[in-house]
Assembly symmetry: C2
């Protein structure tokens, strides 16, 4: 963490974090309370100095950075601070998992408006703790950070990993004849976002429907099976990436990087459709065919599941929970096919919106 | 960089970056133009995949993160985009230098309003290039990043370094009898900020005075002698930190971490005063004594110079450009003395302001 500010005299020890803003508490006291909740990592040199030092056992470090900003990336009417911490962990660790690496630590640059309560910041730290407990090995934690002010809540995370001697699994390694596989759900996070928009600014999870609540949870605090990334690297995956912007769009990128065509079998995603269709019918009042069409669009077009898309050489046992969803073909006219037909990628551009 | 968004058909090739907003260009085209200017680092695996991979030759990585946010940390009436890139490089590399490490790479999470021109983003990248060229070895560059939108320009940088087998120089290692030394200027960045506030929202550097322009430059785009950090580590410095929040406040932190008292000699900072006093007289119209009192306050109280404060065992040759400014004493009542008198630390708290 950055050096705490110096604050005189005022004894805040007994004041509740609920009634104290970060501007009233100052950086030193905010940091002190925040660090009680923050899941600190085991580093060679922890926070408190100008920099942290972490171990890189095979003389390499895998690095990725990802930012979540209020308005563009989340809505405080929908997300609790715990959700934000959990989602920041998931979206960042997914990039490390997608290389086949083991996560080793992260740094968090956090900026909040001056009238934010200290409790909000503590709950955000708690969300990081929950996310790391669910998604990362016990040795991975926070090794540094920075506190700042901004008109909007801003969470910039940089995450580190180790390949432990293995080669990183790139996007460019898919070869004709390989199997296309996915670990994790498809379309749930995007369906959850539809439900949240349909619901407006009410408190989340009012559908009173287990499946609908599951979709909203997948959007607000996804828990993709990220451990599968390391298993894929060990099992000899030829290419891998995380599904952040939508399977068709992300698969297009993998196909172009690898110089191949990827084909999805629509029957292979039937289980994803079967989860979405009845939940969309009940929660949005859609009739069967409308719900099915929307679900089909979301399963292959929706982003933010942070499931893993990988290719494996033929005739390998896929590591759990990877399941085959298609195959790699020689490069054809289209980058991606769905059951033989060219698929137009849909996805998300942060500057332009859905297109 | 994060995966570019997919954008159809519209040919933007011939449209000037000056008349194109990031929302019009989309992430893919913004990123393409940005990367032309960005000083990319030599990594084992560069941008374009889910994560970057960099080398950690001694199985350790030094890591620090620092954020600059419009409003709280800079004002676009005063700073050009090049200034912002240069200052982000200086403030981040200073934390790596303060450990005695060699910088090896950085990742940049950048968020801008949707109506920002692509030219602004290109010039920001150019500022990173200038800053790295001036302050870092040729092998240090950008290895990854993230593009997002925010109502305010937000620059979150995480920087990496290697100790190359040496021990990191901590804040806690100062011992009685050690020499206190500084590499770099004192008070110039804070004096520059005074001049900018005095000047209001006019274009910077209108004082037509070489020294005043130097103060403003020190505030907007500091160039501390950061290579001195590695030299200090090799010369056996016992403690080190960068001066970001003001020498008295930062020295208080070092004194408390080390369990000692640090004493500054005011005659040792006479050269810093001699630079500031005439510039403040001319630029602010202050008479001699007022200018001297303000300069004294700024030299030991002003932040953002990012000079290096270090302690060395006695009777060592100080590596250039370190100069002795005081000595380490047994822990006394005060953390910091100036010529024998207890000094009250002044400095900056981002949530509370100057105190």
């Amino acid at each position: 963490m950055s050096p705490p500010g110096y604050r005189d005299a005022v004894d805040l020890t007994h004041q509740s974090s609920l009634s104290l803003t970060v501007a009233e508490a100052g950086e030193r006291e905010t940091l002190r309370r925040l660090l009680v909740h923050m899941p600190m990592g085991k580093s060679l040199l922890g926070p408190g100095d100008d920099a942290a030092v972490i171990s890189a056992p095979d003389e390499r470090v895998v690095i990725s950075t990802d930012t979540m900003i209020e308005g563009a990336d989340f809505n405080l009417d929908w997300s609790t601070p715990e959700h934000l911490g959990r989602k920041a962990v998931a979206s960042n660790l997914a990039d490390i998992a997608a290389m086949g690496a083991r996560p080793t630590g992260l740094v968090i640059a956090l900026a909040v408006p001056r009238d934010t309560t200290v409790e909000f910041v503590e709950r955000l730290a708690n969300g990081f703790a929950i996310g790391l407990e669910r998604l990362a090995p016990a040795t991975c934690g926070v090794v540094g950070g920075d506190l700042a002010t901004s008109p909007v809540v801003t969470i910039a995370v940089t995450v580190f990993g180790s390949m432990d001697g293995l080669a990183p699994v790139l996007r460019s390694g898919a070869r004709p004849g390989d199997v296309v596989a996915v670990a994790g759900d498809l379309g749930r996070a995007a369906a959850g976002l539809r439900l949240l928009f349909a619901q407006g600014n009410a408190v989340p999870a009012v559908f009173d429907d287990v499946a609908a609540d599951g979709l909203i949870a997948a959007q607000l605090a996804p828990e993709p099976p990220l451990y599968a990334g390391m298993l894929a690297a060990k099992a000899g995956a030829s290419a891998m990436m995380d599904l952040s912007d939508g399977p068709l769009l992300d698969a297009t990128r993998m196909a172009e990087a690898s110089g191949v065509t990827l084909e999805f079998d629509d029957f292979a995603v039937a289980a994803d459709l079967d989860y979405l269709v009845p939940a969309l019918e009940r929660a949005l009042g859609l009739v069967g065919r409308q719900a099915r069409e929307l679900a089909q669009r979301l399963v292959l077009g929706g982003g933010e599941d942070h499931s893993l898309l990988a290719t494996f050489p033929p005739n390998r046992d896929l590591p759990e929970p990877f399941r085959q969803v298609g195959r790699v073909l020689e490069r054809g006219e289209a980058s991606v096919l769905v059951s033989g037909k060219p698929a137009k990628p849909e996805g998300w551009d942060p500057y332009v919106g859905m297109q």
